[in-house]
């Protein structure tokens, strides 16, 4: 559905994307995560042909993103944080304006979305709250059953209730769509993303299915007599911390049996090993800190 190969982009001397390879499978809900300035928004803007990469390739539906045209855009719903809306229009006028551009626009579907989001049709967009504006944008992007939905930081600045409503609407009306979403709200994303890609300093650090990711990351806590680190620890261990009688680390390639064996080899005097699964937020923080430390 979406493919980028060696995508590079820089603003002045600042390299934003440094050879980005991305694969978003059809039907997936792909979460693009990364710290501020990692290049998430730039990636989405290149994919939507709002910006042009300096080198490399990006394609959507098999079409070079620089050549995306009316036919492709009619199959895409794009909503971004801080999107400039026609403030003088009411919600009804806004939806009425976009309706004829999409042959697949369903007025029944539009009404259902409006009911779900409780949007005031007669209110001007400039008088709506941030959350309401995002909902209006989402309605205008879901009413035609887009094959691809691209959301750039959609939850930013939304209160939890609105966030929940937003996700609820998205999941209810995008069941057949591929979704590419960039967000900091990892807790929210975790609940519905099927794939996740971690972008750091313009490169994809990893990209895999959520289930696989959750499976291979474990927080490990080892109780030892006098915690001292061995001279070498496996490369897959990150954020290794020691305290009086504890060693904590994150195993990034957890495998039942193998990790315990590695721990036993590193800490022969270990009195106990506790392995806990990690949430996406913890994984993201671990990786971001590790990347920052490596840099």
């Amino acid at each position: 559905m979406i493919v980028t190969d060696g995508l590079r982009m820089k603003f002045g001397r600042h390299v934003v994307l440094n050879g980005l390879d991305l694969r978003v499978p059809r039907g997936s809900v792909y979460a693009l995560i990364g710290s501020n300035g990692a290049g998430k928004t730039t990636t989405l803007q290149i994919l939507m042909n709002l910006l042009r990469g300096h080198s490399g390739n990006a394609s959507v539906f098999g079409v070079d993103s620089r050549r995306l045209g009316v036919r492709e855009y009619a199959r895409i719903g794009y909503v971004s944080e801080g999107q400039e809306m026609p403030d003088a229009m009411t919600v009804a006028e806004f939806l009425a304006y976009w309706r004829p551009f999409y042959p697949a626009w369903g007025e029944g579907r539009e009404r259902e979305l409006l009911d779900l989001f409780r949007l005031p049709l007669d209110r001007k967009l400039k008088h709506l709250s941030r959350g309401m504006r995002m909902k209006a944008a989402l309605v205008s992007s879901l009413a035609y059953k887009p094959e691809l939905i691209v959301l750039d930081e959609p939850f930013s600045g939304l209160d939890p209730l609105v966030r929940d409503e937003f996700v609820e609407g998205l999941l209810a009306y995008a069941e057949e769509s591929t979704i590419l979403i960039s967000s900091h709200d990892l807790g929210e994303i975790e609940s519905f993303a099927s794939h996740v890609g971690f972008l750091d300093e313009g490169r994809m650090q990893f990209s895999e299915e959520m289930a696989v990711l959750a499976e291979r990351f474990r927080e490990v806590e080892v109780t030892v007599d006098g915690a001292s680190l061995p001279s070498r620890v496996p490369e897959s261990w990150v954020r290794v911390e020691t305290s009086a009688a504890l060693v904590r680390f994150v195993e990034t390639r957890w495998e039942a049996g193998r990790t315990e064996k590695d721990v036993a080899e590193a800490f022969p005097s270990a009195r106990g090993v506790e392995v806990r699964p990690m949430g996406l937020r913890s994984i993201f923080v671990t990786l971001a800190k590790a990347a920052r430390k490596a840099a």
Binding site: L50, I76, S80, Q83, E84, M85, P86
Partner: protein, 477 residues
């Protein structure tokens, strides 16, 4: 087409106020202009004091309208809601253009055609030219702001572009217009037409390119480059504009216009006559020139000179520019006057002189003579609707659709009322132009008729002349 109409209606809802203000100002301008057409020359002055600000405000209103339309879907940036939507840029651009046509161009065309018809001119004859002129007028009023808006991120940006770049162009052109111009008066309409056409074509090109590619910085560079080009056109050499005039004018008789030659026996030398104060003054040498092949009742007018080279037999070659050469009409011959620094003339008093230069000429056909009664109003062929009134002076006012390319001389008895040449140019202007003249009361009041001699241009030609071995001692003093 459906989507163009759809975008058009959205834009109209968004910009109706600007459209309405423009329409109201257009009505004021038209109403006042119709009064101006009906007024005598004395009454026109006060009406101009309404006409000028009304037209200026109309220009501002249409400029704002075009800016608002473009900024409704602003082009620079990546956060606009309409991006990543199935909107064809062609539809967007056509919708904006359609709105300008319907709320500005069509009303203006209607108003201009009404004005032309109200003065009794034939609509069948002038409808096309007047419509084209009005369309061009709307383009001139709206295109610059639309182009600036296409590279602006917001209204503040647009104001900055308009003030800085637009202001710089305006001031540069105004300075050229009020200062010593690099081009002669005869080519002014060519230069102005070229500036309008290059501006319109370049502006449309940038606008289309901006919509098609949304490349902000290259677009901004293109806008500045176009403005610089327009300003620079005022400084292009006169020979270029003469060539454009020749290429763009109907050359009905150029083949039969013969060579340009000099009559050595009629060369005159006029020494500087100011005693003791010769610095800055100069001796003058007048050449009598003649163009062959011009029938007796035609008129040939010298417009300007270029590529002037003078060389003395001792090898000295003074620099002479076109401003040092003055020609005047005298039947079929021209007196061309060179001014030399006194020292140069003294130094080469015994040398011979070679002169080569290129002249530009307008050739007019035989005069069509028409007359009209004093204190009457009637159509004069080739001149338009004329009105004459004899009080303490005789005033003649003629109104013509756009500006006919004619050379007119009016006579009242032995007095010449006016001699005026108007050049037709595809410029944006009011549909009816004025031509007028007058004389104070003289003994000619006994004459009943005013006689006009109207000549139409047949060709614009360029001829080169060479004078070899001109000896200054032989020059008549």
């Amino acid at each position: 087409m459906t989507l163009i109409w759809h975008i058009f209606r959205k834009d109209l809802r968004h910009a109706w106020m600007y459209a309405a203000i423009g329409f109201a100002l257009l009505l004021v301008s038209a109403w006042n202009f119709s009064r101006l057409l009906a007024a005598d020359r004395r009454g026109q002055f006060s009406l101009y004091s309404i006409q000028v600000p009304a037209d200026a405000l109309l220009l501002v209103a249409w400029g704002l309208l075009s800016g608002v339309l473009v900024l409704a879907e602003r082009i620079p940036g990546v956060r606009q809601h309409w991006l990543a939507r199935p909107v064809r840029w062609q539809d967007l651009l056509c919708a904006k253009a359609l709105l300008l046509v319907l709320v500005a161009a069509l009303p203006l065309i209607s108003v201009h055609l009404s004005l032309v018809a109200s003065r009794g001119f034939s609509l069948a004859e002038y409808a096309l030219a007047v419509s084209w002129n009005a369309l061009l007028m709307v383009l001139v009023c709206t295109l610059a702001i639309a182009v600036f808006a296409s590279v602006s991120r917001n209204v503040q940006d647009l104001v900055l572009w308009t003030m800085v770049v637009g202001g710089a162009v305006f001031v540069s052109l105004a300075l050229v217009f009020t200062g010593p111009r690099a081009y002669p008066d005869e080519t002014r309409w060519v230069v102005n037409s070229a500036i309008v056409l290059v501006g319109v074509i370049g502006g449309i090109g940038i606008l289309v390119w901006q919509y098609a590619t949304r490349r902000t910085w290259p677009g901004r560079i293109a806008v500045v480059a176009l403005c610089a080009l327009l300003v620079s056109m005022d400084f292009w050499p006169a020979s270029f504009w003469y060539a454009v005039r020749r290429a763009q004018s109907a050359q009905q008789v150029s083949g039969q216009i013969g060579v340009l030659s000099v009559y050595p026996e009629n060369v005159r030398w006029t020494p500087n006559w100011l005693p003791g104060n010769r610095v800055g003054m100069g001796d003058k040498v007048g050449l009598a020139l003649r163009v062959d092949g011009v029938p007796e009742n035609w008129l040939i007018e010298s417009n300007g000179w270029s590529n002037i080279e003078l060389r003395t037999s001792s090898g000295d070659a003074p620099s002479i520019n076109a401003n040092d050469v003055h020609g005047s009409i005298k039947g079929k011959t021209f007196d061309v006057m060179f001014t030399f620094p006194y020292e140069f003339a003294e130094r080469h008093r015994t040398d011979s002189l070679d002169i080569t230069m290129t002249g530009e000429f307008a050739v007019y056909g035989p005069p069509e003579t028409h007359s009209m009664k004093v204190d009457s109003e009637e159509f004069v062929p080739g001149l338009g609707r004329c009105r004459s009134a004899a009080r303490t002076e005789l005033l003649v006012d003629c109104q013509a659709v756009l500006q006919p390319a004619v050379r007119v001389v009016g006579f009242w008895g032995k007095a010449t009322i006016f001699g005026c040449r108007e050049d037709h140019a595809p410029l944006s202007r009011m549909p009816i132009s004025f031509l007028g003249g007058g004389i104070s009361a003289t003994s000619s009041f006994d004459s009943k008729d005013i006689v006009f001699e109207v000549r139409k241009p047949l060709a614009y030609v360029q001829r080169r002349v060479e004078v070899r071995g001109l000896r200054w001692e032989s020059v008549n003093r």
